[in-house]
């Protein structure tokens, strides 16, 4: 049968990425919280999804139709995620290319300032954006966070200390918080630091 071999397929995908014509390159990235779909543009990280089968159409509408799965452009994100999950990276150094504006963008800006290993609440985040009564709206923004893990919505919890919800499931949220807490403890206890 004349079907495309995996080698040819990979060669085309690499070549397509090398042309610089892609609006978005994406790939699947294995992680302890499941397989992630990671998408990048030439300008930066666009999307992280906990659903590896997530639809590409919304990305096409926001960034353009030239979307292709190809590994190389995603490699810097993959590397930093790996380092994060190994407890070696506390801050991501990745340019972001998000199509958000207004209140939404403002909330994500504040979210980015919540430090590694710490938590805040929806209400506190609302107060910091100057809309102290907007805790529920904050929840909505968290739920639609385009780049979870990198923008740490897992660090936002309910005022009673309950985890409330998470796009990747509560198990994943708990895992991320424990990962960050564990790494912090290790740092404090380590005599070499």
């Amino acid at each position: 049968m004349n079907t495309v071999s995996p080698e040819l397929d990979r060669r085309f995908r690499d070549a397509a990425a090398a042309t610089g014509l892609l609006d978005v390159a994406y790939d699947l990235v294995d992680s302890p919280v499941g397989t992630l779909l990671v998408a990048v543009s030439e300008r930066g990280l666009c999307k992280i999804s906990f659903d590896p089968d997530d639809r590409l159409e919304p990305l096409a509408r926001a960034y353009g139709t030239r979307i292709l799965r190809t590994a190389k452009p995603v490699d810097p994100v993959r590397r930093q995620l790996d380092e994060y999950f190994e407890g070696e990276r506390h801050d991501f150094e990745l340019p972001l290319d998000l199509t958000v504006s207004g209140f939404y963008a403002q909330v994500l800006d504040e979210l980015a300032r919540v430090p590694y290993g710490e938590t805040t609440t929806y209400g506190a985040l609302a107060a910091r954006t100057g809309h102290p009564k907007a805790a529920r709206a904050i929840g909505t923004v968290m739920h639609n966070n385009p780049v979870p893990i990198v923008l740490p919505c897992h660090r936002v919890i309910g005022s009673t200390g309950s985890l409330t919800g998470y796009g990747g499931g509560l198990e994943a949220k708990r895992f991320l918080l424990e990962l960050e807490r564990g790494a912090t403890l290790f740092q404090v206890e380590s005599p070499s630091r």
Partner: protein
């Protein structure tokens, strides 16, 4: 009223048509040379993709590009594809679309440009202006290529 069909993400388009494109190129050029032509076909498609106004006839569109590239390969001075074509022409048609597969067999002996014009016109119902653009010529030239292809088929069929 024609239904509006949006252009799908390139990934879906590529997944859906890559085997058909490779099948066509392998029939024309042999597997070895088909690989480079395959890459070129989809790079050209990628380049042109943002200019698509709707998502209709994408199979025909990309096969048109592939046909054009196969023709260019044929015209290269030191091409050996005629020989390889004999070898690979014996394989079962890989085309899933019956009309196209049938035409591909029928038109196997036509000169490349006539063949492309006939297949795209009658296999895919593409308008002549599109065929002309795809073949790097004009609407009129495409019409002529298709009709002389058909005349040639009639002559051969009558023999």
């Amino acid at each position: 009223m024609m239904e509006v069909v949006t252009v799908p993400p390139f990934e879906s388009f590529y997944e859906e048509h890559r085997d058909a494109v490779f099948g066509l190129l392998a029939r024309r050029l042999g597997r070895g040379r088909a690989e480079d032509a395959f890459q070129e076909t989809f790079i050209r498609a990628l380049r042109a993709y943002p200019r698509l106004e709707h998502g209709r006839h994408l199979r025909a569109w990309v096969l048109t590009i592939a046909e054009r590239i196969a023709i260019d390969e044929y015209r290269k001075p030191n091409n050996t594809s005629a020989h390889e074509h004999m070898e690979f022409g014996l394989e079962a048609p890989p085309e899933p679309e019956a009309a196209y597969a049938e035409l591909a067999d029928l038109t196997d002996r036509l000169p490349p440009t006539e063949r492309a014009a006939v297949v795209l016109r009658y296999g895919y119902d593409l308008p002549y202006d599109q065929i002309g653009r795809a073949l790097g010529s004009s609407e009129e030239a495409a019409r002529q290529a298709a009709s002389s292809g058909v005349r040639r088929l009639r002559r051969e069929g009558a023999q």
